[in-house]
């Protein structure tokens, strides 16, 4: 490639300093986005470091201490088996985030590429991919996820797959419209003129250019992916007890809500809300930066 391309232009002051400066710009521009980044940091820290620093073993039961309300020894109280809820909530972060990240990465790869190909090539590619998305969209999405997990088998991997499938149409739609705009753009024609194959153009020219929009999409769907996975495990699909996971913990606490033991369901539920809220705010903030016109 000999032609100058905007994507190849040397970026000024790359490296850590520039990243920090940009992060500062983003955060000072909108305090809510700054807050969301802070929340995100908390989630990352509890997912990565949490399992090593929690005060109790998340699986160790202690029936003598069962169903005790929050105290200084057990900040979030204990559940019906006397397990420490604080430790379980923290340790669960990794699994819940892991499921969401894997499914979003999967659907980004599948839906993103399918959408770009759809918008870039048009014709039959577009028709077939469009038909697949339409068929998925014809189902209420959570119901389809239930059906997929029930059919494929009740495992965490299948939760990831089901969550990715129900998000597929969203990614296709965004990637398709963004790719269609750029189909005949100058830089694409230049790349074609210098002898690049269509797939190569698609992956090296179109894909990097629609990455910002796709990142926003990923952040916005992360929240939904977490909710979806937790909902599935709440009804008994996917993750199984005694694995600490927010949805299951809320389900276990549901039995005790009626008799007044609120802490079993409350804390994992709050953690779930915290994570979803964080990604929704983050997505909105990122969208405002990437695509100010869509601000609502």
């Amino acid at each position: 490639m000999t032609l100058a391309n905007p994507a190849d232009a040397p970026r000024p002051a790359s490296g850590l300093a520039a990243t920090l400066r940009h992060a500062h710009y983003v955060i000072s521009d909108n305090p809510v986005t700054g807050l969301a980044f802070g929340m995100f940091l908390i989630l990352v820290v509890s997912a990565l470091i949490g399992p090593f620093v929690v005060p109790y073993d998340p699986l160790a039961s202690n029936t003598a201490m069962a169903l005790s309300p929050p105290s200084t020894a057990h900040w979030f109280g204990t559940d019906q088996l006397g397990r420490d809820i604080f430790s379980r909530v923290i340790v669960a972060t990794g699994l819940d985030m892991g499921i969401a990240i894997c499914s979003v990465a999967l659907v980004f790869a599948a839906g993103g590429i399918a959408g770009i190909a759809s918008g870039f090539f048009g014709g039959w590619t577009d028709r077939i991919i469009g038909r697949i998305s339409d068929t998925i969209m014809a189902f209420p999405l959570f119901v389809l996820a239930m059906g997929i997990v029930a059919a494929l088998g009740n495992t965490v991997t299948n939760i990831v797959i089901a969550t990715a499938i129900i998000n597929f149409p969203l990614y296709v739609r965004v990637a398709r419209s963004e790719a269609a705009i750029r189909r005949q753009a100058g830089f694409v024609q230049a790349a074609r003129l210098t002898g690049n194959g269509e797939w190569r153009i698609l992956l090296t020219q179109i894909l990097p250019n629609i990455m910002p929009i796709m990142m926003v999409q990923m952040s916005l769907t992360m929240g939904y992916a977490i909710l979806n996975a937790a909902g599935l495990s709440f009804i008994g699909l996917g993750v199984r007890p005694p694995t600490p996971e927010w949805g299951i913990m809320v389900a276990e606490g549901a039995t005790y809500i009626i008799s007044g033991e609120w802490w079993i369901a409350l804390f994992p539920g709050l953690a779930l809300m915290f994570a979803v809220f964080c990604f929704n705010l983050l997505g909105d903030g990122l969208r405002d930066i990437v695509d100010p016109q869509r601000r609502t």
Binding site: P140, F234, V250
Partner: protein
Amino acid sequence: MLKLIGSRLATAVPSLIGVVIVTFLLTRVLPGDTAAYFAGPAATPQAIAEIRTKLGLDKPLPAQFLDYVTALAKGDLGSSLSTGQPVATEIRNRLPASAELTLAGLILALLIAIPYGIAAAVKQGTWVDHSCRILTTAGVSLPVFFTGLLLVYVFYFKLGWAPAPLGRLDAFASPPPEVTGFYLIDSLIAGDFETFRASAAQLVIPAVTLAIFALAPIARMTRASMLAVLSSEFVRTARAAGLTPYKVIIVYAFRNAMLPVITTLGMVFSFLLGANVLVEKVFAWPGIGSYAVEALITSDFAPVQGFVLAMAVLYIVLNLLIDIAYGVIDPRARSEA
């Protein structure tokens, strides 16, 4: 108008075909032996082979699909393994419970979200607007099963205002004679106000839970679309002509702003039908969602398949109704059809 309905019906057909194919594929093509699955873990090889023949699984795939579609056309969704009851009957019996809950939630959400969205747009930048923004962001972040449990704790355990979250009526009451299957309507038809009050009391908290969930997208869309309409020229003209604010906002702006909101309803229904499953589980509501959840726990696939199909068909029909409503409200959509 008929032409419009006809063309909309035609667009629903491919979705319907797609849905039938997917629900078929969900059982037949996926890994694992369906016959062994239906026979249970303790079955002998002969029993599995017998079931295979009985289910028609030894036939080639297209023939199996034909069998499936033929059975569907007769309204046969197979039978539950654990109860032996036909799935179609069970779903038909339980559908009114789910429909009553979902509709109550939706109506409640619309009654709150639309005025709220309008107020937020009219008073843009004030506390009404900000509270609307916070509410819509928080609303989509709330796991619906968690909201339900919180409401149960506050209104049943703490305050004692709501009855125990155990179904549509408490165990000692008898349901009203069935006409529509909706307890609220049936009890009124029967003139039984005690049952009406009891079933309304059971319905309130689950319906509010669903409404909180559905509120956010509707309010958000109403606000955005009202903002767009309020800054348009015909509204400026109406204002300049000296019409009252009421007339400008409600008669001129609102009707136009409703179109995108109605489109959003399709998405809201997708969420609501899914959320319904979770809410039914929390409140032990005897609808089709809890039927599917019970079946999932016992690995009973026929009810789950029937449930997925029923929900998808329901969703297609709802989308069709939305499309038609759109045509009724917007003459432009009618002429394009």
